[in-house]
């Protein structure tokens, strides 16, 4: 079977383009793998694993959502799950995030005229912060944590 001239040209161009993309994708993937092995090789296996794991944990826990009661409750649940599987070194950082989420929830309940729920959340935040060694936890500190969390929710975090 013989192709007509135009069809043959299109066929050749298609072969070129398809193989170009295939080559580019394989090259990007292989280079990434090479760079990753080079990056890990410059650390010991344990240090590399620890650094990667720490980064992944912090990255996942950073995905802040706008402060609505439902969103913050989901964030709390996600942080608790993350904390169970996290490295011991990352746990105090996650505790700080948990306390911040509780403080935010307290502020939301307060605005919604639910002082009982707000007090319970404030107590949860205090108890979590005492667990990571905080000596005193004032109302002002909890408000500051909530305000910071709400300000950060609108900021794009580094990946």
């Amino acid at each position: 079977m013989r192709f007509p001239s135009l069809s043959r040209g299109v066929h050749v161009a298609l072969l070129f383009v398809c193989h170009f993309f295939l080559g580019a994708i394989v090259a990007v993937w292989a280079t990434y793998q090479y760079e990753q092995s080079h990056w890990l090789a410059s650390l010991s296996r344990e240090q590399g694993r620890q650094l990667l794991s720490l980064r992944e944990t912090l990255l996942v826990s950073q995905t802040l959502r706008p402060a609505t009661t439902g969103a913050v409750q989901r964030e709390l649940s996600q942080l608790r799950t993350l904390r169970r599987g996290a490295l011991p070194e990352a746990q105090p950082i996650l505790d700080m995030r948990l306390a911040t989420a509780h403080a935010t929830l307290a502020s939301l309940y307060q605005n919604a005229n639910d002082p009982v729920a707000a007090a319970a959340e404030r107590e949860a935040a205090r108890s979590t912060l005492r667990g990571i060694g905080w000596k005193t936890v004032s109302e002002a500190t909890l408000d500051e944590l909530a305000t910071r969390r709400q300000a950060s929710a609108g900021v794009k975090q580094p990946r």
């Binding site: 280079t31 105090p92 700080m96 060694g133 950060s152």
Partner: protein, 154 residues
């Protein structure tokens, strides 16, 4: 399909593959280097912010644990090739050791405080390429870092 068409198809595919590889390698390399560099920077920033908060609010044991984790992580980042480091971590390491010195000092552990300040002086001296800083200058470095972190958090 004639033999000549098969040959043209083969060379066209091969050329496409080679051009794709030639284009993909530098793109992949640049992206991977940027990604790993950002990864290191993000971990360092996160830990610095956590350490500064613990330094302000927590007891000596917890503040010490936070700063020791920061020192350990920055030392790991320091071992990475320069292309994976957004900025050499010596200055951040010096600030972390100075902070450790301040924690030990307030806990009444003078020898440990002196060891930490000595390490901080040596590291900051490498950064400044001059005479090592005084302890007061190191405390200023910690205060400056805290101010920057508060600004970032606002």
């Amino acid at each position: 399909m004639s033999r000549s068409e098969l040959i043209i198809g083969f060379y066209s595919s091969l050329l496409g593959l080679l051009v794709g590889l030639a284009v993909g390698v530098p793109v992949g390399k640049a992206r991977a280097e940027r990604l790993f560099s950002q990864r290191s920077e993000a971990v360092a920033q996160e830990l610095a912010a956590f350490t500064a908060t613990q330094f302000r609010h927590a007891d000596a044991a917890h503040a010490r644990a936070a700063v020791e984790l920061e020192i350990q992580t920055l030392s790991q980042i320091d071992r990475l090739p320069a292309k994976y480091q957004p900025a050499p971590p010596q200055s951040a390491l010096a600030a972390a050791y100075a902070r450790l010195g301040m924690i030990e000092e307030s806990a009444g552990n003078a020898p440990a405080a002196e060891t930490a300040f000595q390490r901080a002086r040596s590291l900051q001296g490498q950064v400044d390429h001059g005479s090592p800083p005084t302890d007061e200058q190191l405390r200023g470095l910690v205060r400056h870092q805290d101010e920057m972190l508060v600004k970032v958090g606002e």
